[in-house]
């Protein structure tokens, strides 16, 4: 799974994810998100519009990341999943918990404490 990371203010990071998210591609992503939080990004936005597949392994990784951000009084949001990926969030009852929304604007709204000013330009 390819990823592209962009800073989001001083305490946040936007990850654009590409391809399939399963037990093969998941573990390196878990590492990457964990490191980002360790390095101070307590607000994470995952752009999942280019993710073609996700199952419970992906869910588990995202849940792990949201827990880590919240330990730092931060949070996580998921932006723009395609129909098949959205269905997995919905069926698992994790859509609200994981702040699954359609636009980056909405995601910022969900991340209370994220310094919006720094982000306006994105």
């Amino acid at each position: 799974m390819k990823t592209k990371k962009t800073p989001l203010g001083s305490e946040g990071a936007l990850f654009a994810l590409y391809g399939e998210l399963d037990a093969f591609t998941g573990p390196p992503l878990r590492e990457e998100l964990g490191e980002a939080v360790e390095q101070g990004a307590r607000f994470l936005v995952l752009d999942m519009s280019q993710v073609e597949y996700m199952d419970s392994v992906g869910l588990g990784i995202i849940v792990g990341a949201v827990k880590r951000t919240r330990e730092q009084q931060g949070n996580l949001a998921v932006v723009g999943p395609q129909a098949n990926v959205l269905r997995v969030f919905e069926v698992s009852g994790t859509k609200d918990l994981l702040n699954v929304v359609r636009t980056l604007e909405e995601a910022k709204g969900r991340l209370k404490g994220l310094q919006i000013d720094d982000v306006e330009g994105q």
């Binding site: 093969f24 199952d55 588990g60 129909a83 698992s92 009852g93 994790t94």
Partner: protein
């Protein structure tokens, strides 16, 4: 192969996550031949992947070196795909799965695989017992 099996595709993959995508592609193809629609095919991809991932993660607790192959059978009928995922691993008692709510499971970062199968498929059957391997049967039908 008897004439009864003219509707069955069989597959065997090594017990490794890199082959999950190959299984999903084959399942997509078989599901299309069964006349299923896009969202039904998507559901089958997830449920089949969950079953195969479980073999990789749970069936051989001694470690991946001991992990035997995963057998996948796809039975293509008009308007229905049946997928069977089989291993010769440790097995488990499906009745003794912890009964927790999905919200709790989620915060444990796991335990959602079988829950998803049930919610995505028309039928799920798990034949397993400690010591004698596991067979998961998934059935998805075309919406009318």
């Amino acid at each position: 192969m008897s004439s009864l099996e003219r509707d069955t595709v069989e597959m065997r993959i090594p017990c490794e996550p890199r082959f999950l995508s190959v299984v999903r592609l084959a399942v997509s193809g078989a599901a299309a031949r069964a006349g299923l629609g896009i969202s039904e095919v998507d559901d089958l991809k997830v449920a089949t992947s969950e079953a195969c991932t479980n073999v990789i993660e749970h069936a051989y607790p001694e470690g991946s070196a001991a992990c035997g192959p995963i057998g996948i059978r796809m039975v293509v009928r008009e308007g229905e795909l049946r997928v069977e995922v089989e291993d010769q691993g440790v097995g488990f008692d499906p009745k003794r799965l912890p009964k927790v709510e999905p919200e709790e499971r989620v915060m444990e970062e796991g335990g959602l695989g079988i829950y998803l199968m049930h919610n995505l498929m028309d039928e799920v059957k798990i034949e397993s017992a400690p010591g004698s391997g596991t067979k998961v049967v998934l059935v998805k039908r075309a919406a009318r």
